[in-house]
Symmetry: C2
Subunit: 189 residues, 2 copies
DNA sequence: AAGTTAATTTAACATTTGATAAGTGGATTT
DNA sequence: AAATCCACTTATCAAATGTTAAATTAACTT
């Protein structure tokens, strides 16, 4: 029986049949109601998440302000890498923005497979490489674009977010205030 | 005979003696004069660099403006990951900011070692993980700090850069104009 | 040392964004 | 339906940053 997440993985990197089975055995699925945290602030990241349906964000608090670090759509790897790689508590939380079905994989169980399943190790190396490249592109975006341009880019790349996410979350993601974002929107129409 | 870069690598991740020798055989060293590009724009990233001495930056052009993406000190991995992982030409260049001695490793030769030397593969996975985490931290910095705060943070984390690098490069790294940076500096004294 | 170029600072003004507060509209509760 | 809450917009003013140009300083050449 085919598994949608495994099918997605195989597009990224080859998997032997035995690796496919071993990996499939690790994948858990759960339903999470809107606005609930998948992982709380101060927890150490030991689980990788992938949405089957819904929408999520990673956020943290800066000077008491809620700051959205990123938005995540189905099939996208969701992890707080800075915590995972260091084995240290994260100051960030993962929150589901709509009722969602979520696949999760324990990193401990996953890395136990690496010795016998090199293709699995390479798959996840690739998944993190992709996440890394997106992060690099986001820096370019923040570094030399105006707030207006950053908004346009988000509209191009994650247009669903604009339709489904409260304005305040979008504003902090763009590095501006809610009021400023509202002004930018007003100019367009 | 010990090799300073290998010694550094072994602090990051264990290496067997045979892996150490195999890796050492790939490392080239060259002297590069100040202001020269180590890699030009439009080249595909196929080499990893580490400074033995000197200082470097990655830069690109945005609307005709020279934008510095990052500064690199000795022993730090220098690579244009977005090009390397995709196998596509980079729009970025690597430039040496002072006369420098540079170690380089061909990624093609390196990945040929991965099958027989899993510890080498894991070492470089770790090096890229570290680079990834730095990138994540840089986003936090750009997203919710004022220009002034970003300047202070650079002063803390890479104070050498402030002393040794032309102002215009620092300004674009911080995402502001040279004039604005000059004003920020003036306020402090 | 004089001349030339590059790097940095300063000034003046325009634009963007932040901060605060008030207003509007829609949804939910009772 | 009234009351309440929440999301979003609008208005006003202050602060930060961009733009352009000129002035100063430092570095390099001859």
């Amino acid at each position: 029986m085919s598994h949608a997440l495994i099918t997605y993985f195989k597009q990224i990197s080859q998997l032997s049949t035995s690796s496919e089975e071993a990996l499939k055995a690790l994948i858990q699925i759960q339903s999470i109601p809107k606005n609930q945290d998948l992982q709380h602030i101060a927890q150490t990241c030991k689980t990788l998440y992938f949405l089957k349906t819904g929408l999520a964000r990673i956020y943290y608090f800066h000077d008491g302000n809620d700051v959205t670090e990123g938005f995540y759509e189905p099939f996208c790897l969701i992890a707080r890498a800075e915590s995972l790689f260091a084995g240290a508590p994260s100051k960030k939380a993962i929150q589901v923005l709509e009722d969602a079905e979520v696949w999760s994989i324990s990193t401990q169980e996953l890395s136990a497979l690496y010795d016998d399943h090199r293709d699995i190790e390479r798959l996840f190396t690739r998944l993190f490489e992709r996440a890394y490249v997106q992060t690099i592109q986001r820096i370019e975006n923040l570094q030399f674009h105006t707030a207006d341009e950053r908004y346009q880019l988000l509209a191009q790349e994650q247009s669903e977010v604009l339709r489904r996410v409260p304005l305040k979350y979008i504003a902090s993601y763009l590095g501006i205030t809610q009021v400023s974002l509202s002004r930018i929107r007003a100019k367009k129409s």
